[in-house]
Structure formats: C-alpha cells, structure tokens
Amino acid sequence: MATAQSVFLSGIVLGSLYAMMATGLSLVWTTLGIFNFAHGIFMAVGALVAWQVGTDLGWGLGPAAGLAIGVAVLVGIGFLSELVVVRPFLARRDVVLIAVITTLSASIFFENGTLLIWGARYKQLEPLIPGKVDLLSTAISAHEVLIIVIAPLTLVLLWLFLKFTRIGSAIRAVSQNRESALLMGMNVSLLYSSAFALSAGLAGLSGILLGSVRFITPSLGAEPLVKALIVAIFGGLGSLGGTIGAAYVIGLLEAISVYFIGLYWTPALLFGVMILVLLVRPTGLFGRKG
C-alpha cells in the first residue's frame, strides 16, 4: 500500500510544521497570557530574510546562512515587537482583546513592509538538502525528511531549555505565577520578551522550512496559522505536550481527509472535529482550566 504510506508521510510533514507553529503560539499564550496574531507574518518574514541572505537572487551566502540569519533576525523582531505592541498594554484589564488588535496591527505593518521591501513577486527557497529519499518505500524529497527530523529535534531542545536551564525555569515560573516570580526578584519583563522572541524564532524557522515547499508570499503563514490555531485549541492551550500531540493528530487527519474527501471539505471536517472536542472539553483535550 504505497498510498497509505505517502498519506502517512505527508501527514507527518504537516504535523511537524503545525507542531512548531502551535508550540510558538502556545508558549506566548502560557507565558504572557495573550495570543499573537502576527505569528503567521513572522513565518513569511523569516522565509524572506532567508531568501535575501541565502539565495543567488539575494546575497547568495547559501541556505545554511539563510536559515541561521533568518531565525536570528526573527528572534530580534520578536523581542522588539513585544516591547512595542505588547508590553505597554499588559496592565490593561482587557489586555487579551487589546493584544489581538495590536498584534493584528503588527501583522498589517510587517505584511505591507515586506511588500515595500521585496515586492509582490512570488519567491521560493532552495531546499536545504536537495534530492529525493526513499522512505517507507515512498520517494519523498530530502527536504521533507529534514522537516520531519528538525521539528521534533527543535521541540525537544525547547523542552530541555524550559526544563533544565535557569532562564527556562524562570519562564515557566512566570507563566505559573507572575506575582510570586516578581517577589522572587525575577525580571518579568525581560522574561516576557524572551518568551516572545523564542516564539518568533520558532515562527521564523517554520517559515524557512515551509518556504522551499510553497511559494513565499506575505500570506505564507496565514493558512498554516489557522491550522495551528485549530491545533492549539484541539490540544488545549498551555500544555506543550498536548499541543505537539494534537499537531500530529491534526496533520495526519488532514492528510487522510485530503486524500479521501478532498481539499475543499477538509477545513470543514477539521473545524467539526474541533467543535466536537470543545463541546465535550471546553478547554481542549489536554488544556487546563482558566
């Protein structure tokens, strides 16, 4: 059954991308208590920076340099964005709502900024590893294999970082109890910026990986962002393990559904599944109360 294997593989590829995106969203949500609607455009910016640095049409420094600088620039953008569009509003009573509009504004800002800098023409990154690979007796591109490998690796690194480093523990402490963390003398503002920057870096990485599979437009991240939202709701916001599990479940479900019932009805199916989950468990499958 070659089809079953190729459906499975494309599901895993999708799941890996969703896992990285949804983890970024979830990280900001647990730490800052807001939702970042600029996450999608961060993906596009990451891919465009990597294109500028890495490809021959840009500065031609090679894909690896593109990847490294792309992620680094996004970490910087994330840090600054938090400073400008999130921090001034954190003390407001309706911060959840205000943050939606400010991050949407940031999204508009970056979207039109990329149009001004790079124009509207479609671009594509070269694959990080060229060629095809035989996997489960199916030929898939080496780049997709790389996605399957990089995503879990990145998420394990993130988990190790959050679990065992000083800053990681501090970020977790702040998300669990902001006031206590303040009383313990932690620099809460700096930790907020760090979490936001980390999340933006993840967005940039997912954008760069996606940028050689799809064409890079300002809306590169829009459709994956909606899927990542569904993943985040499905898994329950605030549980990293739940989010990652949900990402692979949704990715496989999407691949199966695209194969059997077609591209157009798949979003309806995913939405239906999400509603069903929410009707039974209003905070998602693995979510906590709040």
């Binding site: 949500w29 939702f35 508009i108 900024g113 829009a222 939405f271 929410l278 998602g284």
Partner: protein
C-alpha cells in the same frame, strides 16, 4: 421621547443633518462613495460593538455575518431573482441563522477560546464559499449583482445619489435599534453578565440564552449591511472574510471607542477618510495606519469619541448662559 438639544441629542441631530445635506453641497461622486463605505462600516462596527464592547463576547467571526449577508443577498437577487429590496432584509435573516450556528460552540467557552473558535468559523465560511464555485463564483467573487430600483429609477443613476440615502437610512435605523437595545432590560442584563458574570447568573440571568441573543442581535443589521454592500458594489467578494476587513472594522471600533454606540461610527468615518487621504502612498499607508492604531490605543484608551465629547462640552460652555 424628549430631546435634549443642548446635550448629546443635539450633537447627534447636527451630525445627521450634516450628512443629509452634504450630497447637495458636495457634488463629487467620489466623496459620496467614501461616505457610503464609511456608513456601511459604521453599521458593522457599531453592531459588533454591541456583542464585543457591551456583551464582552470576543466574537471574531463578526465579519462572517457581513460576508454571508453579502453573498446571500447577491445570490438570492441574481440566481433566484428576488428584488434586492427584499434580499437585503433576507441577508439579515441569514446572518441571524449564522449567529445561532456559531453560538452553539461558543456558549460554553471563555475568553481566548471564543476568539479562536469564532475566528475559525469565519475561515470555515470562507472555505465553504471558495469550494462551492458553481454557486458563489469561488475565488473570483460573485459579480454583476442586480441594482436597487424604484419603479423605473435605477439607484445607480445620478452617480449613486440614491444609494447614499439608502445607506444613511440603514445607519439611522441600526443606530436607533442599538439605542433601544442597550437601554432595554435585555441590554442591561448583557452588560451585567460582562461586568460580573457570577453575580448576574446568581440573580437568575441565563448566560447561555443571553449570549445567544447577544450574537443574534449583533448579526441582524450586520447581515443587512452586507446585503446592501454587495448590491451597491455589485459584487460579493471572498476578500470580506480576510484579515484586512476584520482588522479594519476592529480598529474602527477600538479607535472610535467601545464605550458607546457612536464611538465605532466615528471611528469608521475617521479611518475611511484618513486611509483615503493617504491612498497615493500605496502599501506604506497601512504601515502608518497600523502605527496610528497602536498610538491611539496607547494614549487614548477610551477612543476618539472621548476627545470629541470633551471638545463638544467645551464648545457648549462658550455659549452665553441664559439669565
């Protein structure tokens, strides 16, 4: 009803009078078009404000009510052949049905989950419209929607003079409706649920029922505005469901001020005019608008309307007082 002409009622009547006589003094069809667009967005934003500002329900699928109204009216008028006068009203009914559907999952949810589910709902509507290409025109949109006519008079003639007053009529009716709504017992219970949910529920207000009714109430005129818009522009376009119109309406509401019915309407006029003034800048104007939204949110949390009120009060103080 007694009118307080020196107070807020006077300001409202003054604004209305200006809008009524404006097209007679400003012959430019382009200015008229801008005001029609601002009026339509004013209806959308002020009705959204009822569920979001007054009700505290973070419904990010509000533009889906507008879009579904636009498509429903366009399809009923062109494919089924009903007169646009009726389909615009039917668009409101379709939006109400959509509101009932979206409120089913929303009833049990809180905070950010409401944002996500309603946003996902509007994306789902978009996907369904894209997939039913035969009926909706898919990604190309649904063009050549029939015009409003009264006898032999087409509202498209005289540079859309007639549409201006239909739009204005819609805004006035919608605003009177919202006024009644927020002052009714229902409106008060909606605000009570927002401010102290536990207490309101303990006093016998049904959370699920009021949430459903709030969304339904905010959908009615939004759908009709959608129906009017697709009739006026003669096209129902899938772009309505995108990030653009959503953040536009949201910024109108927040810039204008969520504390009153009139804030979002003022916001709609300000943003439409400002973005039109900068049209030569191309994509750069969105950078400026985005920065402006952040700055206003930062320095005028109550919105533009608060500043306007203060200015109006100052103006009244300048009047010689009667002895």
């Amino acid at each position: 009803m007694r009118l307080n002409l020196t107070g807020p009622d006077g300001a409202r009547l003054l604004c209305l009078a200006v809008l009524v006589v404006l097209p007679f003094f400003v012959p430019s069809a382009y200015v008229r078009h801008l005001i029609i667009v601002a009026v339509v967005y004013g209806v959308v934003a002020s009705n959204w404000n009822f569920s979001l500002g007054y009700g505290g329900i973070f419904n990010f699928g509000h533009l889906a009510f507008f879009g579904l109204g636009a498509y429903a009216s366009a399809i009923l008028a062109k494919t089924v052949g009903i007169t646009p006068w009726v389909t615009i009203v039917l668009a409101g009914v379709v939006a109400v049905i959509a509101a009932i559907i979206v409120s089913v999952p929303v009833l049990r949810l809180k905070g950010i989950y409401v944002v996500l589910v309603t946003f996902a709902f509007s994306q789902l509507c978009l996907q369904l419209i894209m997939s039913q290409q035969g009926m909706t025109g898919g990604s190309q949109g649904f063009p050549l929607v029939p015009q409003l006519k009264l006898g032999d008079y087409s509202f498209a003639s005289d540079d859309k003079f007639g549409y201006y007053f239909v739009a204005l009529f819609l805004l006035v009716i919608s605003t009177l409706y919202l006024e009644r709504l927020v002052r009714s017992n229902f409106g008060i219970s909606v605000v009570a649920l927002r401010d102290n949910e536990d207490y309101a529920v303990s006093r016998g207000i049904s959370l699920a029922r009021q949430r459903l009714l709030t969304l339904v109430a905010s959908a009615l005129f939004t759908g009709m505005a959608g129906g009017f818009f697709s009739t006026y522009t003669r096209v129902a376009s899938p772009e309505i469901f995108g990030f653009g119109p959503l953040s536009l309406a949201l910024s109108m509401m927040l810039l204008g001020g969520t504390g009153s019915i009139y804030g979002p309407i003022v916001g709609a006029f300000v943003i439409t005019i400002v973005s039109e003034l900068m049209i030569d800048l191309g994509p750069a104007r969105f950078l400026i608008i985005a920065a402006m939204i952040i700055l206003v949110l930062l320095f005028y949390p109550g919105g533009i309307i608060v500043g306007l009120r203060r200015a109006y009060d100052e103006l009244l103080k300048l009047r010689p007082t009667r002895a």
